[in-house]
């Protein structure tokens, strides 16, 4: 930042002035990535002092639009206007100069520094090369007072709650005189009380004239704070609703669009002799008494928003997390709390984040597949039979069409779809009785997805249970035999396959009862 700019910062201690009228207008924004168009003439408008929510499924184009506004991407066509004057924003620094600030999901604070130090990180107030701590503190206090925030400028960020950290991010934005703050799913890592805290901060900002674009998946938050809502789908802006027009049915229809659902031709039979029962399962604040029964041959889909406790439920069933209450029974017998015992009893888990939790990036396909089957490839003393290991891996590579067909391939160098096949194949080759899948097709291309679904079907045809958590509504509705939707730590609604629609599942996930579903609370 130039000296001049720093000086100008010094003068405007007050933050953004309360202004009226249109703050930002996007007109006909187009954007393509390597030939694939992801934004089609997107229009968007927002005013000073407005909270404008932005919703849409994953891949709808929300992030792309925001990244164009903040100068991360360059638009192919269209025009941006700030204060009704056309502007070009070609990089994030220019965006900041125009008063646009973003608060990302992953916060960018340094945990070891104090609130004040974080706010002025990289733009410290200096005199003769010395940092002016007192002046920085004064100005931080001014901002805190002005927006009525509950923060101590000398507290280390490490000890703050997530909501407070977000306030620090907000302050950081305000310290550079931001008039437009973009929040990208700010509540996904907050508890209910913390979210409420954040909403109060947002209201305070709004009163002072700051405009806020609020990207979210949660309809209830839109009700709570948004003045207007813009919905995007497949790279297009479907429409903008005023506060009065927002209702769940309209919003979900706008988000999903026309639903195509392939009909079932096969009558599925479920096996009553093989059941997994979960009774009143509790885990901290996340699971507040979850109960369900899954039968042999069934693919049970679990829907709900990210952070609603779905992953924790899966980990509790698998034995990787210790529930704080409740019972898990397989055929009436309690399921062990030890992962390895469960694996030997026919359990398997495909975790949510394959890179961080799924595979060993340094090892070969062979080792990554065999690691879950030491009971098969080794004797009781723990001696591995190289030939058995090799045959086991080659069978999996063959059966599940893992490409390239090379057991010595380092998994890190493979495509996402094939990495997922390795992790799925590691379990499928064992013919598990209970297979637990957490977001099984994230980052997997369409062709491989169809294959994965086919493998899942094959497994259930042999009488096994599959429990699948997915945020992909299309996948959830297409693949599951039954869908349970989680909301606020309990199962909220149940959908039989015939009745499940993406819009209905989405509504239930937002805590709205639907006609299609069977209410469980």
């Amino acid at each position: 930042m130039s000296k001049e700019k720093r000086k100008s910062l010094d003068i405007k201690v007050e933050g953004p002035m309360k202004e009226e009228g249109v703050l930002l207008t996007c007109k006909g924004i187009d954007k393509s990535f390597s030939g694939v168009q992801v934004l089609f003439g997107a229009d968007f408008e927002m005013n000073y002092g407005e909270v404008h929510a932005l919703m849409g499924e994953n891949g709808a184009g929300k992030s792309t639009l925001i990244k164009i506004v903040t100068g991360v991407y360059h638009k192919d066509a269209g025009q941006l206007y700030i204060d009704e004057e056309s502007v070009e924003i070609s990089n994030p620094i220019e965006a900041r100069a125009h008063g646009i600030a973003v608060i990302y999901q992953e916060l960018s604070l340094v945990p070891d520094l104090t609130v004040m130090e974080n706010i002025y990180l990289g733009q410290e107030l200096k005199k003769y090369g010395f940092v002016e701590k007192n002046r920085m503190r004064e100005r931080t206090l001014d901002l805190i007072k002005k927006y009525e925030l509950d923060l101590n400028p000398d507290a280390t960020v490490e000890v703050l709650s997530m909501a407070q950290r977000q306030m620090v991010e907000v302050l950081k934005a305000l310290s550079t005189n931001a008039k437009l703050i973009i929040m990208d799913e700010p509540t996904s890592s907050l508890s209910a009380a913390e979210s409420e805290h954040l909403f109060r901060t947002i209201e305070s900002l709004k009163k002072k004239g700051t405009g806020i674009i609020y990207v979210t998946h949660r309809l209830e938050e839109v009700y709570r704070i948004a003045d207007r809502l813009t919905v995007m789908r497949n790279g297009e802006v479907v429409g903008t609703l005023t506060k009065a027009e927002i209702n769940p049915r309209t919003v979900t229809t706008m988000m999903i669009g026309h639903e195509i659902k392939t009909e079932y031709d096969v009558q599925r039979t479920f096996n009553d002799d093989f059941v997994l029962e979960v009774k009143d399962l509790r885990y901290g604040d996340l699971l507040k008494g979850v109960s369900f029964t899954a039968k042999g041959g069934e693919i049970l889909g679990i829907g709900g928003l990210v952070g609603s406790g779905r992953t924790e439920l899966l980990h509790c069933i698998y034995g990787a997390k210790k529930p704080s209450g409740g019972r898990i029974l397989l055929n009436g017998k309690p399921v062990s709390r030890s992962v390895i015992k469960n694996i030997n009893n026919g359990f398997g888990l495909v975790p949510e984040d394959r890179r961080r939790e799924g595979f060993n990036p340094l090892q070969t396909v062979e080792k990554n597949i065999a690691i879950a089957s030491h009971d098969v490839i080794a004797n009781a003393l723990g001696l591995v039979y190289a030939k058995k290991e090799r045959d086991w891996a080659e069978k999996a590579i063959e059966d599940y069409d893992i490409r390239p067909k090379n057991r010595k391939m380092i998994v890190d160098n493979m495509s996402g779809g094939n990495q997922q096949k390795v992790i799925l194949g590691r379990w499928l080759i064992r013919e598990p009785r209970v297979l637990i899948l957490d977001e099984p097709t994230v980052g997997v291309d369409v062709g491989v997805r169809a294959e994965l679904y086919r493998f899942m079907r094959q497994l259930t045809e042999s009488g096994s249970i599959i429990i699948m958590v997915s945020s992909d509504l299309f996948e959830l509705v297409q693949v599951s035999d039954r869908i349970l939707v989680m909301h606020d730590g309990v199962f909220f609604e149940e959908f039989p396959r015939e009745k499940a629609t993406q819009a209905a599942v989405l509504m239930a996930a937002s805590g709205e009862h639907t006609e299609e579903g069977v209410p469980l609370v």
Partner: protein, 349 residues
């Protein structure tokens, strides 16, 4: 097959052999005594302690840890063995009891490390550095600060100095392979077998590669990590016993600085300090290189003892730099090639 030969020529091992050759030829020219059979046997004997400790510490490094206490653990092991054996006047039985006590103590220290590092999530270098001071103090308390001699000719002598193979070469010089070399080779073979042929070895690599993923396939990270640290400390104990035997006494200063040398050996041997990658052969190669450099520094006359450490460090540093650069380059090259293959095959689909 042709590709196999080609890749082995350009692979990591080709590079390792090359470095060894360069170092040996260089040494051979500058110091003719270097290439005598007697000296080569001497080097192998000399590196046996490094080699054993490197093989042991490899387990700790593979799970993503470090063990900086091995030098002090080695000293402790010699001291314990001698003090216990002294009770029975260094009779064979008491010597065995002493040795057993030393190794058990080492394994317990390893488990203690594992507990602190895994259960309490304290960084491994902090834990092992701290315990190394504690152990140093403990040795002083045990031995009263003075060295503990053992009776010559007792079993303690045998640990390092027993002659297993002995004959006279045609040149009239004796050719001797001592017990320490045999212990080193046996230990290295066992470690190699455990790492490459057993489920325990598989688990060690899995933990080092991705701890969370390892937990999700039912690996008990705590138990296996503890075992890895125990092997590291146990190996340090064996190394310490050999050291004690060859110097004919136990003292708190024996083994000082070995952790640094062993760590360097592992780095030179291509072991990933972040865990999950590395082999016994790499560890032995590293120990060999570090040992050869130390040996030449003692052979060459113009190097006074004061300069020895300086040159030793310098040469190892240079080898480390070259080794790390070449290793990452070859790995990247490999990765790129593999990615190309994957892409080509994906296009085929």
């Amino acid at each position: 097959m042709k590709e196999k030969i080609l890749s082995s020529l350009t692979g990591v091992w080709a590079f390792r052999v090359l470095i060894l050759l360069i170092v040996c030829v260089f040494m051979g020219i500058s110091e003719p005594r270097f290439l005598t059979i007697g000296n080569i046997v001497n080097i192998i004997s000399y590196i046996s302690v490094y080699g054993i400790m490197a093989c042991g510490m490899l387990f700790a490094v593979l799970i993503g840890g470090l063990d900086l206490s091995i030098g002090r653990v080695a000293a402790l092991s010699g001291t314990i063995a001698c003090i216990v054996a002294r009770v029975g006047g260094f009779s064979a039985t008491w010597c065995l009891i002493g040795i057993a006590c030393a190794i058990v103590a080492g394994i317990l220290i390893g488990y203690f490390h594992g507990f602190l590092i895994v259960k309490l999530a304290i960084p491994s270098f902090v834990v092992t550095l701290a315990t190394s001071y504690v152990i140093y103090g403990a040795i002083t308390l045990l031995s009263g600060g003075s060295r503990v001699d053992f009776v010559r000719g007792s079993l303690m002598d045998t640990i390092s100095n027993a002659r297993i193979v002995e004959f006279t070469l045609s040149s009239g010089k004796p050719f001797v392979i001592q017990m320490n070399v045999v212990i080193f080779i046996v230990f290295a073979v066992i470690c190699w077998y455990v790492l490459s042929k057993t489920t325990f070895g598989r688990r060690i690599y899995a933990i080092g590669g991705n701890t969370t993923a390892a937990q999700f396939v039912g690996i008990n990270v705590f138990r296996n990590s503890c075992a890895a640290y125990a092997i590291s400390s146990g190996a340090a104990c064996i190394g310490g016993l050999i050291l004690m035997s060859s110097t004919s006494y136990a003292a708190q200063t024996l083994g000082a600085g070995y952790e640094g040398m062993v760590l360097m050996a592992l780095i030179v041997g291509g072991i990933n300090l972040a865990g999950g990658k590395g082999t016994i052969s790499g560890a032995i190669f590293g120990a060999l290189l570090v040992g050869i450099i130390a040996n030449i520094c003692t052979l060459v006359d113009f190097l006074n003892l004061e300069y020895l450490k300086f040159f030793q460090g310098l040469i190892i540093l240079i080898v480390c730099i070259i080794s790390v650069i070449l290793e990452t380059r070859s790995r990247r090259g490999k990765g790129r090639k593999a990615k190309q293959i994957a892409e080509m095959q994906a296009q085929d689909e």
